[in-house]
Amino acid sequence: MPPAPSGEIVQLGIIGVLLLLLLFYGGTMWMSVAISRKKENADDYMTAGNRIGFGVSAASMTATWIWASSMYASVTAGYTYGVSGPIHYGLWGALMILFIYPFGKRIRAVAPRAHTLAEVMYARHGRSSQLMLAGSNVLGSVISLTSNFIAGGAIIAMLSPLSFGAGILIIAGGVLLYTLWSGFRASVLTDFAQVMAMLGAAVVIIPAVFFLAGGPSMFAEGVSAGHVTPQQESFFSSDAFMNQGAPYIAAVLAYAIGNQTIAQRLFAVREDLIKPTFITATVGYGATVIGVGMLGVMALYLGIEPMGGDVNNLMPQMVGTYLPVALVALAFIMIVGSLSSTADSDLAALSSIVMTDIYGQSVGRRNADPKLMLLIGRITMIVATGLALYFATARFNILDLLVFVGALWGCLVFPVIASFYWKKVTNKAFTLSVIAALAVFLPVRFQLIPLEGAWALLVELLAIIGVGVVLGIMAFGFFGLRPAIVIGATTTIAVLPFGFGFLRDFETLSGSLVAYSVSFLVCYLLSVRSSQDFDFSVIKKVTGDFDEETPVSGAEPRPGTDPDDLDRVTADR
């Protein structure tokens, strides 16, 4: 066993932190300048030409999905639930990337040159569905941006004498500077350097803390000192599953569908590389986040008390307590890399939504001015950064906001996915199902109505159906409709005897599940008798490039670029 921690943690000092930030943001700025063009193309600013290779796209997908909050949350899960905690955080998050990939292939097939999912919803349904999805995307990205700024400010304040306010300003300024000019292209390319730094740091830091904190003997000594409970020692902890894993399974499926940063990479990667990109990101995210979560497991066995009673301090505390200053600097770069890669993706996502869904589709694709569009994208980034800075200083409860957005996206998952496969889904069904799901979710999640009596039974019935809907959606992507119906129905029937009288105690889980079930029931019931027979080829014609570069003489128009097609299909939008 190493000497007991004195409570002091290694400090990097003002000069050290500023030099590291200068190195990090200077390097990313240099990469951004290297690819900048005097005259940027509006479509490339959003999707980098829809043909990025495996290395860049896998790096970008991994870097974007790993954000600072995921590292902090995994460490907290390890400390709270023991050995299975990080699995119930990181594994499900990783598998969701995998579960989304078959839907991603379908989305890309029907809309090969789209920029946002909301744009595709416009082509599929019309303006209300588009704005509903775009609005939830904007809200989610601003909250994510805020959360990353807060994480940056907190780590700078902890490892140096600089204040939290100075920390968030430096992070926000650094990210905005290198993303502003080239948008998504800069975000994607810098993701490569950031993921190398993050993954490289994780490879070194996890074993370093393990051995410097005592190595294998910490486990037996932790048990004999009474630091861990039998549930925390178990790889099959029901506590960890019910409180951490299960709500997360439901929430993350929604995050992957509702998050524009993922959709943007889906539209940017070369179509034949979608599968290897998603598989690599699945393993990369899972191994990194679960691995970092091991710091929380170690803290638990070592009997460490979080500084100030805040579990969010555990990761920097473990690193600062056991590692020499050079490795603390490496850990600092890992955290700054994770938050910057997600923050730049959020900025690129927000600019794309405003450029495409607010400006582009409102004036019509043929009337959109690419130059003005780029200006709008850049102004969006500046405004979003300002808003996120305001929220970060106002110290809103980010977790509550994230739960709200997660549920909002949970309401959208079935209607969005069904809209890509089922010709009968109408705009009315889409819109009403999302509103109805939200109306039931809110009182359940925030316990506006006490969960008792007939209301509790109704909520539990809906939550039980929701379990079947979640598993049915996952099965549908890989195995098709029939197996999905069998799996969904079997799961619902299997949970039926246990769910009543039980699920009411887990309002976070029940809230997410009712969002799925209500949106499914309303969307299905309103669509099943509909006579609509939607032609999916319309989507390819409505979505497409805004910024036409010199056309090749005599060439076939690219999907979505033939003016006659566009006039015809947008006449009723």
Partner: protein, 42 residues
């Protein structure tokens, strides 16, 4: 149990290293292809 937990903690950085190498090789291939075709990588 100690050996199992040790392996459990240390397997993740090994997996991360594998992914790091995969992504780095993929990136190098992207750069080489872009150079060969005379276009920017992104």
């Amino acid at each position: 149990m100690t050996a199992l937990l040790t392996a459990y903690v240390l397997m993740w950085p090994v997996l991360v290293l594998g992914i790091l190498i995969t992504i780095a090789r993929g990136f190098a291939k992207d750069v080489a292809e872009a150079r060969k075709e005379g276009r920017p990588i992104i």
